[in-house]
Symmetry: C2
Subunit: 641 residues, 2 copies
């Protein structure tokens, strides 16, 4: 719960940890820069921000003040700010809050009293997660003015406009920066979320209040995906009950899969829009996104805002993307395929060896290629992940969202190939559906066992161990949703691409997802550092990734249908005609999918009407205003009054 | 040129023609309704509009006052309005005009003096086309209040909210309504446009000023399309020069076509956005679109604006679309295919007859199927067009844009099938590339001859005749751009789908387009009534139609490539492998096309920056305003001051 001291200051929000051996000179300089007030001493207003740059953070910083920790590291600081500072920060970030009339509007300091639940000086108006998000933003946009290096560290170069925090991090002077948990609220949340016997769905609003919109959307999607799988799982169970060994019946499942994966993604878009509207992030403008902390360039003026910030020419970024990153990714994909082909060859040899001389020794040989392949894939994944992060950082994207998109895209393509290339090979080149089914089952079951262990048992064990040994309660580093989404993406792939030949897959994934919800909830509340909240309006590039997968699913399911014995029976003489028909129907389905996606509105009607009404009202209001009452416009127009 | 009389009234703008035998009672009532002022006598402001509905038109209406015409029809009226009325109309319509700082902003009456070229009371600020557009809007939104029928015509039913003009038109009481030409400006325009020897491109800005954005965009697109065809045409000429009879070389053209049609459409989007930004229609908000005149329903309150207007439940419209229109269209498509199959059968018979007994008589028989088919297609087209218009009207779309989209879609699908089904049949079922080439050449050349005659010679002849005979100078009814776009769409189809087997097609189309530009320009300036301007931001659903065609072009070109002898030579043994490769490459190209369309921004960077800056400025300005200065918001919030 947020506590406010009498003088309108908020309780500690964010922890900043510097290296224990940081020079005093450096600490003093950093604290001064963080505490620095606006040059004219007044509050931060939009007009001043345009005039006086780089702006100051005006934060309140105190040492941790705990005896135990201070002995180990005296350079741990608690950061907070005055309510007024936080509210102007909320305005800068364009946070949407509920207005008096029930609609969601961009918060502005001057109109603060017209927002719902704004009382007194604003105590409790912003959630703790929002305050922490604001502090994080202020810290990250703390930029060098005329310093050429970090005082005390000549090798930590600075130039006007460079993010100070980022340089401190890259030089390992700042170890970490994370938001504080709120024990009481967390207890209430975890009780609602996973401790009591569940008769309802997850408390998404509470999750959002505590962890922010990005994480709440992840849990909403995980829940939605699980629910969407239930019909598939039931169908799978029924199928197993009656003709478990009849591979020929899979045509029906392939058709069902086709429809299922298109429909659930369309509906999720609408669900997600409803949630985002309800949370005020749907219509939040993206225009004012600040450059990400790692972004560097020559200081100039942003053509949109007129503010001073580092600029980096777009053509240079494009060159880096298309001349370095793209060839690198393609090379890795080629390598991955090459390794897969070696694996299949090795398996062939092992099989041949066993056929020739079926002893125990040669039977062991049968497992060796699979083990080697699994190890090599893991190693490749690891190396590739580092390389992708390095390359995306080096591409120097201005926006965090753009950085994330490029990173996700790189990792996604590689993981997709690693996971599915062998299945594609078995399904369409070898055309061995029995082997496909075996492989799919093995993949799903092993990945689920590993997952259960890593995500459910291990965290539980870790926490028990920690409590027993009374270890220092320093939580694990926070974990983003990246890997969680990636896991869901691959599961979605197994289901939508190939589950028609192994209908039990949906059952396995449902079980997996249910434990995933509980273990993820447990992890978030107990194990990891609290993550900074992220006011997301949708699941971002993952929506696109899932859509792409559903397009690929149409292609694979059509091909599986075309390969099925029942369908082949219709074309006893001509393989060619069968193929023509398959391709024609597949094209028809693809066209149909795009038409459906085009026709179904992404935002439910009542929300569209609400948004249109807000737009209309502000237009009507603008019409009634004389332009000269808008100071910015007047200045731009250069008009005399 | 706009003339203004001393008392601030504009010269006549729009002609309204009632039937000569209209009852006097009706004329008097209509004139009264058109002239009616706001109930409180004040000017029209946004707040009053919300309060006092239905609003009044406040137009100035006078009889034509010409002796000759009055004898034939005394019920011709000239409509205009005061400058102030026109300016408030411009505000209601959200017209974008150039602001003092060079940016384009939504015009508001209260800020009128901050707009560029606003002098005195607004004389010359709005172009004549804009004034006429405003008058048209006012006439069309003149709605019945408590009248149950048109006075004097008991059968012409009215109900609150019904558009009066529309009812008068449907009952043939009002014959027509059209904007007046401005002889002097038209003369200047036509000189610049097509009379002087052309060393430059079309005067698009002048066209836009006189005819509005919609028509100017059509001419811009026609010009762009022609320019884009030039490389294809040059290549085609070169090709004819060297190996005219070598069908095998078409693979190269197919590949070129593939790339060409994707690239030119992507670039056009950017061109079109540039033009629309320059003309102020790009960022014009669509939210406030009034219901179209033909829209009917029970009077209620619009959920967005809160204004009273007819409402019609969406599910009823959807039912009509999916249960009536869609099956009807599908049936027509089936019929069209059926007729085509009969044609091919008849041709087979005729050929058989001629083979058996090759006399002059049987040779004549060879032409009969083609002639019958052509006539049947024309008749089907005609009937279908009427049916499509009737159905789309009956679907009762609220917005004109939605009506247009549904109409275009219906007509497009049918025309596509009519024009291309036989070519598809010849190319892919009969696989007879020689016949395909003959048919394509015949189609293009005959359509071009007919086109030249109908669009170039006929208008010229008509005008000469008219001048000679000193006929009354009543121009032909204005013609929309619908048929012109349809023609371009079909030409684009011939080129992108099949021109690889007949590279001269591009040359023919370039020639056709050049004459098209001249003849269309001549028609617009001399023959037809001036059309009402239409503030379009892009070519609307036609962009989508052309994109869809370019997707189909990828499929056809890939198939043509797969069918080519050179490619077949690589797969001497296996048809199956050839097909697999063709399908794989085609899928790759489709994916690539979507990725390119996704990556290339639709709006050029400098315009995106300008738009973002405007957004940013108005957000900053809003932040600085206390909310209570916006009357609408305060009322909605229901807050006490």
């Amino acid at each position: 719960m947020m506590k406010v001291s009498g003088n309108g200051f908020c309780s500690p929000l964010v922890v900043v940890v510097l290296s224990p051996d940081t020079k005093e000179e450096t600490v003093a300089w950093l604290l001064r820069r963080m505490r620095e007030k606006q040059q004219d001493g007044g509050t931060l207003t939009g007009l001043l921000m345009i005039k006086d740059l780089p702006k100051s953070a005006e934060l309140l910083v105190d040492p941790l003040g705990s005896k135990v920790e201070e002995k180990e590291n005296p350079n741990i600081f608690l950061v907070t700010a005055s309510w007024q500072r936080l509210l102007t920060g909320a305005e800068d970030l364009g946070l949407f809050k509920e207005f008096n009339d029930g609609s969601m509007r961009s918060f502005t300091f001057i109109n603060r009293h017209n927002f719902k639940e704004f009382h007194g000086d604003g105590d409790g108006f912003l959630s703790m997660a929002e305050c922490q998000y604001i502090i994080k933003h202020e810290l990250e946009t703390l930029r060098a003015k005329d310093e050429t290096h970090v005082p005390g560290y000549a090798q930590a170069k600075l130039y006007p406009g460079k993010s100070i925090i980022r340089r401190l991090q890259s030089k390992k002077i700042m170890i970490q920066m994370f938001p504080l948990h709120d024990k009481e609220e967390l207890k209430r949340l975890s009780f609602k979320w996973y401790k009591k016997v569940k008769t309802s769905l997850q408390p998404l609003d509470n999750i959002r209040h505590y962890f922010g919109e990005g994480l709440a959307l992840y849990f909403a999607f995980l829940e939605y995906f699980t629910m969407a799988l239930v019909p598939l799982a039931l169908l799978g169970l029924l199928y197993c009950q009656f003709d478990w060994e009849n591979y020929d019946k899979y045509v029906f499942f392939a058709v069902f899969n086709l429809i299922w994966c298109t429909v659930i993604l369309e509906l999720w878009k609408r669900c997600s829009a409803s949630l985002a509207y309800h949370w005020g992030t749907l219509s939040r403008k993206k225009v004012f996104e600040e450059p990400r902390p790692g972004f560097h360039g020559i200081l100039g003026f942003n053509p949109v805002t007129g503010r001073e910030e580092p600029l980096y020419p777009n053509y240079k970024r494009q060159l880096r993307i298309y001349l370095v990153s793209l060839p690198f990714v393609l090379l890795c994909l080629y390598l991955s395929l090459y390794v897969m082909m070696i694996y299949f060859q090795m398996e062939g040899w092992a099989l041949m060896l066993y056929d020739k001389d079926p002893t125990f020794c040669t039977k062991l040989f049968l497992y060796i290629p699979g083990i080697i392949y699994a190890v090599v894939i893991e190693i490749m994944n690891l190396i590739y992940r580092y390389a992708a992060e390095f390359l995306t950082e080096w591409e120097n994207h201005r926006l965090e969202s753009s950085y994330q998109n490029h990173l996700v895209l790189k990792v996604l393509v590689f993981n997709f190939l690693n996971c599915f290339a062998s299945l594609f090979y078995i399904a369409f080149i070898m055309q061995d559906l029995v082997l496909l089914r075996q492989n799919l089952a093995t993949l799903l079951i092993t990945s689920q066992i590993i997952n259960q262990f890593m995500e459910a048992f291990l965290p539980y064990w870790l926490q028990r161990g920690r409590n027993k040994m009374m270890m220092m309660e320093i939580p694990l580093n926070e974990q983003g949703t990246f890997d969680d989404y990636l896991e869901l993406f691959l599961l979605f792939g197994y289901i939508s691409l190939f589950s028609s030949v192994y209908p039990l897959a949906a059952v396995l994934v449902v079980l997996n997802n249910i434990t995933e919800i509980y273990s993820d909830a447990f992890k978030m509340c107990n194990l990891y550092k609290r993550p900074f909240s992220d006011p997301a309006a949708n699941i971002g590039i993952w929506q696109l990734a899932f859509e792409a997968m559903s397009v690929i699913a149409i292609v694979t399911n059509c091909t599986l249908i075309g390969m099925s014995p029942q369908v082949r029976a219709y074309f006893p003489d001509s393989e060619m005609h069968l193929m023509l028909w398959t391709v024609a129907i597949e094209h028809g389905l693809l066209a149909f999918k795009f038409i459906v996606a085009f026709l179904v509105p992404d935002i439910p009607k009542h929300i569209r009407i609400n948004l249109a009404r807000l737009d209309f009202e502000s237009m009507e209001a603008l019409k009634k205003k004389k332009m000269f009452e808008f100071p910015v416009m007047r200045r731009v127009a250069g008009e005399k009054e």
